[in-house]
């Protein structure tokens, strides 16, 4: 079974701190996606990483895809309360049409 393991499960930090969350698998993925979900809303796509070793930046968010395409990380610099949410990674499963999700990292940034 393909699984995406995310860590940590919960993260509570103060405004201005840096943080990194991880998405790991024993399987190779052709690409990985990162989403953020806020309470009462559906997940919203942040980025897709495709090439092993790729680094993508979205303002204060930096996404990296592992060289072997089995893992990815999301680094947030100088976190703000607006970054609070559930961060999910997702990848294409073995079955056609199966977009599988990790269990997410719940981030809370306190002012």
């Amino acid at each position: 079974t393909q699984l995406l393991e995310q860590s940590p499960q919960f993260l509570s930090i103060q405004e201005g701190e840096n943080l990194t969350v991880y998405c790991n698998s024993s399987s190779v993925f052709s690409s990985l996606q990162w989403y953020r979900q806020e309470p009462g809303e559906g997940p919203v796509l942040l980025v897709t990483v495709v090439t092993g070793g790729e680094v993508k930046k979205l303002k204060r968010l930096t996404f990296q895809f592992g060289d072997a395409r089995k893992d990815s990380s999301l680094h947030i610099t100088a976190a703000q309360p607006g970054d609070t949410g559930l961060y999910l990674c997702a990848g294409k499963g073995r079955s056609q049409g199966n977009l599988i999700f990790g269990k997410g990292t719940k981030l809370s940034v306190k002012p």
Partner: protein, 112 residues
Amino acid sequence: DTAVSQTPKYLVTQMGNDKSIKCEQNLGHDTMYWYKQDSKKFLKIMFSYNNKELIINETVPNRFSPKSPDKAHLNLHINSLELGDSAVYFCASSQRPATEAFFGQGTRLTVV
């Protein structure tokens, strides 16, 4: 205009009832999905349709039946609702199977 819209947003119903959740996307996508998010926030795929054809049917009770009248719509009908069906159900769409997905706002189903 909302890209992926699902109704209703909240649904409270008694055990044993039958209910439907509707989903529409105006993005011109070929693929649509139903996901269930449990109390621990785990998003689990239930069904995936591509061009109105069912391509994924995960281990879901037969009481759940998706229907796709056209590429823009994917409805979910649930028979004989049980307490364990309480969850948030998300509809999503993507241009092709398992590519970047756009989600609806979710339907919070509470079975009492």
